[in-house]
Symmetry: D2
Subunit: 333 residues, 4 copies
């Protein structure tokens, strides 16, 4: 039975608390938060203790921590928790600074403790079914990947300003998805973007619409499309052309009702946002973490994976600024 | 080269004229109509002669006639054309009177000339693909058939009054589809119906909404649903459950555009009515007729098929009136 | 906070235990089972007590019981629990005997305690979205209802023998769905059926393939199709034609992956069986029960509803045996 | 009545001959071909004369010519036909040389005769329905366009060598589609490509897989994906994200049959190649040409449009060679 401390008690921490509690192989023993009242509240709901982060990390009876705090604390907490001998599952991104993330990777690696990064979409039933079909050779060799990833509505400008920008905050999921499906890092990253959805986002120095093309040393190509606004809901699709066919993971809809009238044939919209769409993926992610820790096997998404995705975001930032492709090796010192 | 006379110059005759003209193995040589002006007009458009029906039937250089006149003339024309040594493709239904149709079958059979009945839906690319998959064993043995067949809007009451009623006019297509797919005649016919769409249809002694259940001697069951009104377009679907799976032929849509907005995900409507939906089936039907006549093989839809479907309509009429199932053998004397 | 006793500790009881535990307004306090070990096991997992059924019913601190025992005990337990002042949520069917169910309804009604019958499909997100669209007038007045309900594989013959037969065991869900969507009881029931899937089912006196047509006093018609075997999974669809359009609730698929190869375009199968398909409906059903009990409002599925569906099953049994339609009023004395 | 000369008698000329013949406002009077036997054969089939190209152009009774000859003759024929006072519909591309095409545009413009370029996809019922919805404001302002355009199988290497390369031969259709839907020329063109499908294509100096990103001065972005091989058929899709929704034009399938078995739910493949998919678009294109010439209105696809698409192909060629984005204004001198 894995005894787990949860660092952070915000919205996504609640999702993780449910996954930890309902898994037969793990037990939520403590939770901490920057705002103690939040920790208290979550502790009451899930029947565990509210403690300080330091306390949890120092507690030798706790085997693993789940880091669901704000991004700027991730690297520090990964380092201290692994130094204290704990397995770690940390929410993405590892850090907004590639350099800092690389240091964290180095230090955490020295402890030998497993660190998994929370790219939960790898555990979405649709994307993982696509990956399984790919690995089973059902479309032969992969050639051309497309990822569509649109949010339903832009976040507040206040969030945009501290987010690290679209590439580090939003597209980082898609960079990891590309790595997951292509099974290799790209050679070059070419970014195109603009703030066409909301001018204020542009004024804040960010973009809201972006296309990034990744090229691979073996000639494969990937394209990622992001928009901060798809009014019809959270649009999360992947398609991969291979030598023997095409695989697509389509959107999940709110329900299966179809209405035919003089206006046309209407289905439900895609599930609204990540909590609706990816709820099953959080449970699957936690199960994969517990399985890896329990069996002593490798975690399915490593800290290296987290650094890799961050490096791609960094390359995209540079490509957009410079107006030409950027080699990934140039940003990974 | 099959030399063809077209009897009738109405709307459906125009569709047939195009099929005859554009087929490399047939030539439209003459057309007749009750209203000579209609025949003249069609003759000009397709570069053939407008003549009288008697003339066409008497013309020994004409090999085949296509009967697209009003229903009450079908039996007479089949008899006279076959007696004159011509192959015949006759629009459905053979007759509104089962007894008259049976006499026609007897007389036409004695001539030994091929008579094909225009159940064009057998030649619809979707239904024929379903039939091919069934015959290839893709769903094992058939067990339960459902036919959905809704018109977009009811015809005028004046038409209803001379139509022979929903079972003989509209569902007769579905009776033939059931025979085509089940490969056997049913044992019993049970009809349920009402005039819920338009009370005037009820006042005219007909129904506009109907469900007919067919049972087969080997335990199979078929259900046919008809409505005179589906405001979203012509709804023409078939589904067949078998021991190893399900086959469905779905509607054809006007186009493939899908629009996603805050109101939902909207596709185009089904193609509006039979001319839009079944246009390809008329060309395929004609090609099958030409192929059968040219090769001397059997026609793919026989006059017996036409009588069989009419007998099922007759049984449905009796079942609805009597409120219980009617054995098909009871109406076929 | 509703204090709940769970009667029965089998597979479906486990589903209910999860719903009760995770609902913020209810607490699972005790569980009983015919086999005490089963109750013990479930009690340990959900942190409640294993007690005897009598004990639970006698415990005044328990406000509600959920009856998930074998069908032959339902009526007795509804009577004793309501007599003891408890609200009841009872799994379907109320009983296999219509007469016994009617007595139960009479006795339970005298206590004035709310009894809800577990027709969970009313709470399926797809069917309830269809119902909401219907009630909102989106397709005008309903005219023609079709329910397709196929199990993935037949149950063991041993189960068939005690099940009460297809109409009481399987189609009873669809009878209730018809009542839910049509908002009225039918006038007549006409049943057609055979044992074409598995001859042994026929030898056991039951059928495995059935079509039932329901007619309504206002001219509406409903058709229910059942098969004990759809090898591609649990096929659960509803479609309703109205004066202004068509509503369909389609199957839920295992995932959204689509594969295009030289063999065609392939999607995932429907979710396998009722536990996969209807898992959300059990939670929604429980939430509706808690809401009704807490607010003192009427339960959304009454004991009368349970008796009504059973009466339709009884009528179907008689119709199949007699070979003609049976008026519903004839079986409801 | 438009009297039409058809230049070229190859496969696509046959498609045009059907469109010209069956249109009530045009008459096919003569056909020419480099190989006289081909012209003879087509002339016999469509009941017109086989003549020399010079003869046709010199014939004052001929109002319009349709140029369906090899690409290297297009510019010369447009110039001579317009100089002879004829309206011209010319197959795409105008030329493989942008400079030559620009000269042709200049000369043809001086004659004042209408020249339409055969970008038939603008007349596909699906893409034109998408365009109509866009123009009607159904998704607000356009922001992000994606075009997927995959051929079923690569052409022979011999064809590749004379084709002008993927951008001028294949993607030129998509460049025009982008111009059609975005209503503006892009500012920059960024091309990525490789010969991953067939190494021989790379050896011939071409690519078989490509992604091109177009940026627009107002911040909009378009992405075009091409592959010479999609084994499941001709994959021709467009999707456009706007401020109020998403429009997608999906593939047309061979038929509407869906098969559900233990292997999944399988639909038909997309129609195989351009003749199957775009057959209706050729008829619509011709009708639009006849309408423009008859009414004296502007042709819906101008020679400028043809030069614009060619300039984009030229920019893509340069971008791929240079490894960075190319401004469209740099290639248009």
């Amino acid at each position: 039975m894995l005894k787990v401390g949860l660092l952070g008690a915000g919205r996504i921490a609640g999702v993780h608390a449910t996954a930890i509690s309902s898994h037969p192989g793990s037990q939520l023993v403590a939770v901490s938060d920057f705002i103690p009242e939040n920790a208290d509240k979550l502790a009451r709901q899930y029947g565990c203790e509210a403690r300080s982060t330091d306390d949890i990390i120092a507690d030798e009876s706790i085997n693993a921590v789940l880091v669901a705090t704000s991004t700027d604390t991730h690297s520090d907490l990964i380092e201290s928790a692994t130094a204290a001998g704990k397995a770690v599952l940390c929410e993405k991104p590892v850090d907004l600074s590639l350099e800092r993330a690389q240091t964290c990777l180095e230090l955490a690696s020295q402890t030998g403790k497993p660190v998994m990064v929370g790219f939960n979409r790898r555990f979405d039933p649709n994307f993982s079914a696509l990956k399984m079909a790919l690995d089973a050779g059902e479309i032969g060799k992969s050639e051309l990947l497309s990822i569509t990833s649109f949010d339903p509505a832009p976040p507040p400008i206040s969030y945009i300003k501290v987010s690290g920008g679209l590439f580090r905050d939003m597209m980082i999921h898609d960079f990891d998805m590309a790595n997951y499906l292509m099974g290799a890092a790209p050679e070059s990253v070419s970014a195109f973007g603009s703030s066409i959805v909301e001018p204020e986002i542009g004024e804040a120095g960010d973009i809201d619409t972006a296309v990034v093309t990744l090229t691979y040393s073996d000639g494969r190509i990937a394209v990622i499309k992001n928009s901060r606004r798809a009014v019809y809901g959270y649009d999360q699709r992947v398609e991969l052309l291979g030598s023997k066919g095409l695989l697509q993971a389509q959107n999940m809809l709110e329900n299966t009702v179809v209405k035919s009238t003089t206006m046309g044939v209407t289905s439900a919209k895609p599930t609204y946002f990540f909590l609706e769409r990816y709820m099953p993926s959080y449970a699957n992610e936690w199960a994969a973490f517990v399985e890896a820790i329990s069996s002593g096997g490798p975690v399915p998404v490593t800290l290296e994976d987290g650094v890799q995705a961050l490096a791609m975001a960094e390359a995209a930032v540079q490509s957009l600024a410079q107006g030409h492709p950027v080699k990934l090796c140039k940003v990974l010192v």
